[in-house]
């Protein structure tokens, strides 16, 4: 076999391939954990597409009807009541592409539905963002303190968490609903104060396993303070769990907000949100279906995008689920690069988690089962 001339070519080819992969592997050594995560995230098509779509939605919602004193580029505001045209039917058409006077139609009193949907999107996104930030912060504080200090602190904080878990979120909605003059940010803030429990449990689980690691012992021996260990050594390693869960939290927050508004407990007229729009217009489904379709489509679009971004982040931070494919692919020499990439990620502390540490079920970067929006 070896005396055939093209076999030498093949051998040479294979050698250069291996050399290439070695070079790439050497190149990988210099990459930080963050760079690896970024690379993996950028390689996740679904997540990138979703991120772009989400960005477009946000941009559209903010610029079209504007915020605060700024009016935006769309000719109507969500409060104007221009005369009804053509029964308020949507004028949007794809062939030829044109928006027309009222692309999403008009509601029963003639308000421009595009402006209303955009305003609703703004409000829903704002609440989602507030809920995400508040519950991430509270959850991380509770989780890290109880996971790091253990003992009495843990007992008190975790029992408090248990207590908040069983308080129904709807109740918070009802309390806010009664005080109608409280603003949207207050709604987001209070919702955030009830939805942080899943995050706290996951972060605690992560801290429990990370605090037993050698690098924490080393830092402690070197005389690092608790504060320094938490912020400099453990928290950066828990960033994967935190980011992924914040996105998932936000995707369930948008459903929560719309559900509350739907039940008449969240955002109230004259302001509007996507859930409120659906609730106001569901009876008109057979006569004016567009009043029902548009806000729903925007909820689904936003939520879907956030979910895909979260999925991409999970894959980027915790590539363990990709193992099977990599093993299959590594039968061809060139793909060893990716194998090396995986190995590098597994060896680096952020990606390794000892699984079922204490009572944090659902896997290391588990999706929190959020059934609130049922």
């Amino acid at each position: 076999m070896s005396d055939q001339p093209n076999d030498t070519i093949q051998t040479r080819q294979r050698l250069t391939d291996e050399l290439d992969s070695l070079e790439v592997a050497a190149d990988l050594k210099g990459k930080s954990q963050a760079a690896l995560v970024r690379k993996r995230f950028l390689g996740h098509t679904g997540a990138i597409v979703s991120l772009v779509v989400l960005g477009c939605v946000v941009l559209l919602a903010v610029t079209s009807v504007g915020i605060g004193p700024w009016h935006g580029w769309w000719k109507y505001s969500w409060l104007d009541t221009p005369p009804l045209q053509n029964g308020g039917k949507p004028t949007l058409s794809l062939f030829p592409l044109s928006a027309g006077e009222h692309p999403f139609g008009q509601d029963t009193v003639g308000r421009d539905y595009f402006a209303m949907t955009m305003r609703g999107t703004q409000i829903s996104l704002l609440i989602t963002l507030t809920v995400g930030i508040i519950s991430a912060v509270v959850g991380v504080v509770f989780g890290s303190l109880s996971g790091y200090f253990r003992g009495g602190v843990e007992t008190v904080l975790m029992r408090l968490t248990d207590m908040v878990i069983i308080i129904p979120v709807l109740l918070i909605g009802a309390v806010i609903g009664y005080n109608t003059n409280s603003g949207i940010l207050v709604l987001g803030f209070l919702l955030g104060l009830t939805t942080w429990t899943g995050m706290a449990r996951l972060v605690r689980g992560d801290f429990l396993s990370l605090r037993e690691r050698e690098f924490v012992d080393a830092a402690r021996l070197a005389g690092a303070s608790d504060r320094r260990i938490i912020f400099k050594h453990i928290l950066p390693n828990a960033v994967g769990v935190i980011t992924v869960n914040t996105t998932l939290l936000m995707s369930s927050a948008i459903l929560l907000e719309t559900s509350l508004s739907y039940l008449g407990m969240g955002v109230k007229a004259p302001d509007t949100s996507l859930g409120l729009l659906i609730s106001q217009n569901q009876a008109a489904f057979s006569t004016r279906p567009w009043l029902f379709w548009w806000p729903g489509l925007f909820i689904v679009l936003i939520c879907l995008c956030i979910n895909f971004v979260g999925d991409g982040l999970r894959d980027a931070f915790d590539p363990r689920q990709r193992k099977i494919r990599l093993r299959r692919m590594s039968e061809t020499p060139h793909d060893d690069v990716e194998g090396a990439l995986l190995a590098a990620a597994v060896v680096s502390p952020g990606a390794v988690r000892s699984g079922w540490e204490d009572d944090a079920p659902g896997g290391p970067l588990g999706e929190t089962p959020n059934e609130e929006h049922r």
């Binding site: 069983i166 308080i167 979910n307 999925d311 689920q321 079922w356 059934e371």
Partner: protein, 509 residues
Amino acid sequence: MASFVLRRLGVSLLVLLGASFLVYQLVAISGDPLQEYRESNRPNKEQLMQARINLLNLDVPAPVRYFMWLGGALKCVIPGKCDLGKTLQGQEVTDALSAAIPSTLQLVASATILAIVIGITIGIVTALRQYSALDYSVTFMTFLFFSLPVFWVAVLLKQFGAIRFNDFLADPTVSVGVALGIGIVAGLIWALLLGGTMRRRLVVFATATVVTAGIIWYLGWSQWFSYPGLGPAVIAVTGAGIAMGATALLAGLRNRKALYSAFIMVALAVVMELVLVPQLDDAGFWLIVLLGLAAIGAGLLVGWLMGGYDRGQSMKIAALTSFLVAGLVLLDRFMQSWPEYFKATRGRPIATIGSETPGLDGDLWITGIDKYAHLLLPTMALILISLASYTRYSRASMLEVMGQDYVRTARAKGLPERTVVVRHAFRNALIPIATIVAFDIGGLLGGAVITENVFSFKGMGQLFIQGLSHQDPNPVMGVFLVVGITAVTFNLIADLTYSALDPRVRVKA
């Protein structure tokens, strides 16, 4: 172990007490119970207000009122002495609860069980075929379902699943175009499911499209939608499929004894369909349950009688097949009553709201269909939105397990792939899912507040919402108490199951 359970229970009790205090205060500041009277201009306004103040003890500050409520609630430890107060309409909360719990369970239990079974199946299949077209499409679908607001889905379901479907049932003719459309969708699903080379996919797609379109068109042509039924032939063929499937999955088709015992059960079911079912016109609910148990028992017996080197397996398979085929027979019997039900509902069989047709009178079969027809849409809505999380969980869990060393060992020692997947991987993948299922079951009684609201289902969620919107503290507290206690109990059960299933995890004694 015992000390762990006791300590956990004690702590949970404290947590419940604290949470109930908070909830009571929140309800108290969520509105003014006298609002409706303040705004009214009835002559006896003062009197009515005083009556309500007396009923709810509004002259006492809320924190003190909580302890008065707690005093009544604590009596629940003694059976029959329970005092959870009265609703604004003067109904005992305990009565309201005992009416709401069964109705909620009916709605949520079947939806949850179905979602769990379907979700886990899909999750496992996609994990085994990671990065296939099937995996990508299922992942997309689960994310889509996960992003659907349930009230939005509910309105769509009402429109297309009930109103349009009822219109169709009024004149059930299927045009060739519609049949072909459904056929193409079915063909795509089958091609994705079976996978393989491009050629194989095309063949599967073409066959499935033609067969499905043909069946749909035939069903429309033969007025099946007006007079549905399965008949012994369909039961026999489907049953044979079930028997083959169950054997292939659980024992492998080489295990002839298992296969034959499954086939015997199918044959028995067909005989039952011909002999027993016509006698069942006046059957009661418990008779049906008894017959179901008998089917399982017969399966076990047949499997045992077949003997062989692995009796247990034959028994399991025969019992499973028997149970499923008995279900088919039951379905057939229900279908026979469909025309009568159709007439009784004046041609609008699929209901959009409520849990039963008011004033409907009939035997078990008619009321049974009525129940299904009312549960159909809310169950579908609930399954759609809760399917996603189970699918994702079981997929992740299965992927994790398939990468473990013991799976490689099992393969290396030459076990067939079926054994590796079913015996070694699947069972271990179920462990984390079992915990999640236990959590979810704990939350079942809380009901599906929004779903119940949209479909006007009188369950726990509805009781809760009604109480909240009328500032009526007692039903809200009652629901909270029931939900809280079950949640706490099932959390404990989840922890214990976990340590029982996975010996690597031990509860701290």
